[in-house]
């Protein structure tokens, strides 16, 4: 029998097998983790949540595709990072936002914040957060025209809980309705429990490290408890209120944990999380804006390279310095 030999085999460097988790799967997992919040949002604000999210995601993907096409770069839409950016951005919108503003937000996030800095992995600040801040400052009215929650028959004001806290005019909602999510606010921020489920899912699947969310939320809680304790308020109740209200949950689990714009080492993550919490609370209590999560994450994103440089990595056998 003639023996067949093969002498044109593939030669590559080891290892020859790879983990089943790739960038696309990671992005998909995060989108999956956002689903509970999206569903609660649909329940609270109605069907426009779906169309607005779809428009934002589709435009984000389109801008990514078009930029790569135009610049003759490798197509990166299949890694789903643009789709995730669109979804995260939509989470920050009030459900009644005009579609053209949503599309503009995608343009800012994908082209200005992400692609102009070199595309995936190269952006300095979180695209979704930055686009939100830009829209928030440029279209203050549209971005803060909150939809009345469907089941809240007795609600007289559509203001967010933090808005009420800053400006007064109505009674603060109790912490339980904040936790469950039947309050005014942006699409992704309404239900703390839905965000918590998504966040814990990501931690369980080892997609994100628990360090940043824990430090972020912990700092908000402690800061609020100390502040209201000193000023004679109900310390614990207000601390819980600050954790549940506004964008803390969404920011801590989904925005601040963005790999590209947060520190790599655990010590860096601790500094980053505490920094986010501190800035958030300083803005909420002393600043002129009712909410500070986006600003805090944006500022800490800018500090990330510095934090990375500052943190020393403790390596195996690292005791001997300057050895040859």
């Amino acid at each position: 029998m003639e023996k067949k030999t093969y002498s044109n085999l593939v030669v590559s460097s080891a290892p020859h097998i790879v983990s089943p988790v790739d960038t696309t799967k990671i992005m998909l997992m995060v989108m999956l983790a956002l689903l509970p919040s999206l569903l609660v949002s649909v329940y609270v604000f109605g069907f426009r949540v779906i169309t607005l999210t779809a428009v934002t995601m589709a435009s984000a993907v389109f801008f990514e595709w078009a930029w790569n096409k135009l610049m003759k770069k490798t197509q990166t839409v299949t890694d789903l990072s643009a789709a995730l950016t669109g979804m995260l951005l939509a989470m920050n919108f009030p459900s009644g936002l005009p579609y053209w503003i949503a599309v503009l937000g995608s343009l800012i996030a994908i082209i200005v914040v992400k692609q102009l800095f070199g595309g995936i992995g190269k952006n300095i600040v979180n695209p979704a957060i930055t686009a939100r801040v830009v829209l928030f400052i440029s279209f203050a009215t549209e971005m803060t025209t909150w939809t009345v929650p469907k089941m809240a028959a007795d609600v007289t004001s559509t203001a967010t809980p933090l808005g009420i806290l800053a400006e007064g005019g109505a009674e603060l909602p109790d912490n339980m309705s904040l936790f469950l999510g039947f309050v005014g606010g942006s699409m992704g921020e309404v239900s703390a429990i839905a965000l918590l489920i998504g966040g814990l899912f990501l931690i369980w699947k080892k997609i994100i490290s628990p360090i940043i969310p824990a430090c972020f939320i912990g700092t908000v809680f402690v800061f609020a408890a100390v502040y209201y304790g000193l000023t004679g308020g109900n310390a614990i109740e207000m601390a819980i209120f600050h954790v549940l209200a506004g964008g803390v949950m969404l920011g801590a689990f989904f925005m601040a944990t963005d790999y590209v714009t947060s520190p790599l080492l655990p010590t860096g993550k601790i500094i980053f999380g505490i920094g986010c919490g501190l800035i958030t609370m300083i803005i909420r209590i002393f600043g002129s804006y009712p909410e500070g999560v986006s600003f805090s994450i944006l500022l800490m994103n800018c500090l990330t390279p510095l934090i990375n440089n500052f943190c020393q990595n403790r390596m195996y056998g690292g005791a001997k310095k300057n050895e040859k």
Binding site: Y6, S7, L9, V11, A14, H16, S19, V21, L264, N313
Partner: protein
């Protein structure tokens, strides 16, 4: 005492052949025995065309210190010498022998009589033994460290953390007597007080079998040590840390930490050699992969062509696109299946086209998985960036030299960056800069 662990990763085990008892392969129609089957100087062929050689006869040797002699694995006629490019890219001299299939044993084969360390080391050298775990460092040098008075512990590496490979597992079930005898000989002559056989917990039958044998023999200074079934527990520096808690830096030897560390197959061969006197002429290996018709554990004569070994496993069931010598994590891809088996082969894995595709590299997303995977807590993504800038100082500061090239970072990277390979290249950058 709670055991400290280094970081590690979970890699699917794929130990399909764990239940396959080893089959001895019949002598093939031709063997080509390489003259460089070890780290160090290649051997000079001692035979020429037309010579008749027998099993166990010395056919290659050298005066160089770092080397090991080479013996014929068959009886038959030398057809000549050939030169062939090896998997590392260098050129090897091969002694081509046409077996007469009588397998006549060389007259000089006798059980070595040894009474002291120099005699033991001499016998080990004459056996042609090299590190069979993959490094193929001549064992007679490893067993005779400069600080031999300070070594006290034998560590036998039976972790077998590479996926697919089960040859060490089968050895522990089938040749446990030789393994224990080998441990005792090594400990006796080198003067070691205790021995540990480090085995991953995914081989409970091997652990139980060895524990039983050790108990039956009343041996108390040799113990099995159960390791996590994670990658890369079988790496030298990881194994020493897991068993002794000692940190061994790159460039250091186990002996500096009081240990002699050897692969389980190497130690078992010592036992076998002092039982039979037959030098290292055959090798047990796992043949697996989705292109192999019948995956098996095989004992083949050294010098058997890889396609003959696969032929013994009923050939290819689909066209192979990648063939590995060794496991999928650290094994070497070879360009042709017309290469001979050498001493340190513990697996031949043949994969189909789907399994052979090199994944396209995408941009780093700074997820930090490489850092969390690295047993030594290096930052492979930062090392890769430093390498791409050819920044020798940064590479050195990030301790690229500590990297043992286990490939955990490359395996785990969701962007499919060849991080481990870049570390290898990064080391060359540091060496070139003289840092």
């Amino acid at each position: 005492m709670s055991q400290k662990h280094l970081q590690s990763i979970h890699v699917s085990h794929y130990k399909h052949t764990a239940g396959c008892a080893t089959e001895v392969m019949p002598v093939p129609d031709v063997v080509k025995i390489s003259m460089s089957q070890h780290i160090g100087a290649p051997c000079k062929p001692l035979v020429q065309k037309g010579d008749y050689v027998k099993v166990g006869q010395l056919i290659g040797d050298t005066e160089a210190f770092v080397s090991a002699p080479i013996h014929s694995s068959v009886s038959g006629t030398v057809k000549g010498l050939e030169e062939q490019r090896n998997a590392m890219g260098g050129i090897d001299t091969l002694v081509v022998i046409e077996p007469d299939k009588k397998q006549e044993i060389y007259e000089g084969i006798a059980v070595p009589e040894v009474s002291d360390l120099p005699g033991f080391i001499k016998a080990i050298r004459e056996s042609g033994l090299v590190g069979l775990g993959g490094a193929s460092f001549p064992t007679h040098i490893k067993f005779n460290p400069k600080n031999i008075d300070e070594v006290h512990t034998l560590i036998v590496n039976a972790a077998e953390c590479e996926p697919f490979i089960t040859s060490d597992h089968r050895l522990m079930l089938e040749d446990a007597e030789d393994l224990i005898a080998g441990c005792q000989l090594v400990m006796k002559y080198i003067g070691l007080d205790e021995g540990y056989i480090g085995i991953e917990e995914n081989k409970p039958d091997a652990i139980a079998h060895l524990d039983q044998l050790l108990a039956d023999k009343g041996i108390t200074n040799i113990k099995t040590f159960t390791l996590q079934a994670r990658y890369p527990k079988g790496a030298e520096r990881v194994l020493i840390y897991e068993i002794t808690g000692k940190t061994m830096n790159a460039g250091e030897l186990p002996a500096q930490h009081g240990c002699i560390l050897s692969n389980v197959t190497t130690i078992a061969f010592v036992g076998q050699y002092f039982r039979t006197g037959m030098p290292l002429v055959s090798k047990r290996m796992t043949v697996d992969g989705d292109a192999v018709a019948t995956p098996k554990n095989v004992i083949a004569p050294i010098g058997t062509m890889i396609n003959d070994v696969i032929g013994f496993c009923d050939g290819y069931k689909q066209e192979p696109r990648k063939i590995l010598m060794g496991g999928p994590m650290m094994g070497r891809a070879i360009f042709s299946d017309e290469m001979p088996i050498i001493k340190n082969n513990n697996a031949i894995l043949a994969f189909s086209k789907e399994q052979s595709l090199v994944k396209e590299e995408t941009a780093c997303i700074n997820c930090g998985r490489c850092h969390q995977a690295c047993p030594f807590k290096l930052i492979p993504t930062a090392l890769a960036d430093a390498y791409e800038r050819r920044d020798a100082q940064a590479l050195s500061n990030l301790k690229v030299m500590q990297c043992m090239e286990c490939g955990s970072c490359s395996y785990i990277c969701p962007a499919r960056r060849p991080l481990g390979f870049m570390n290898k290249l990064g080391k060359a950058v540091v060496k070139e800069a003289g840092l």
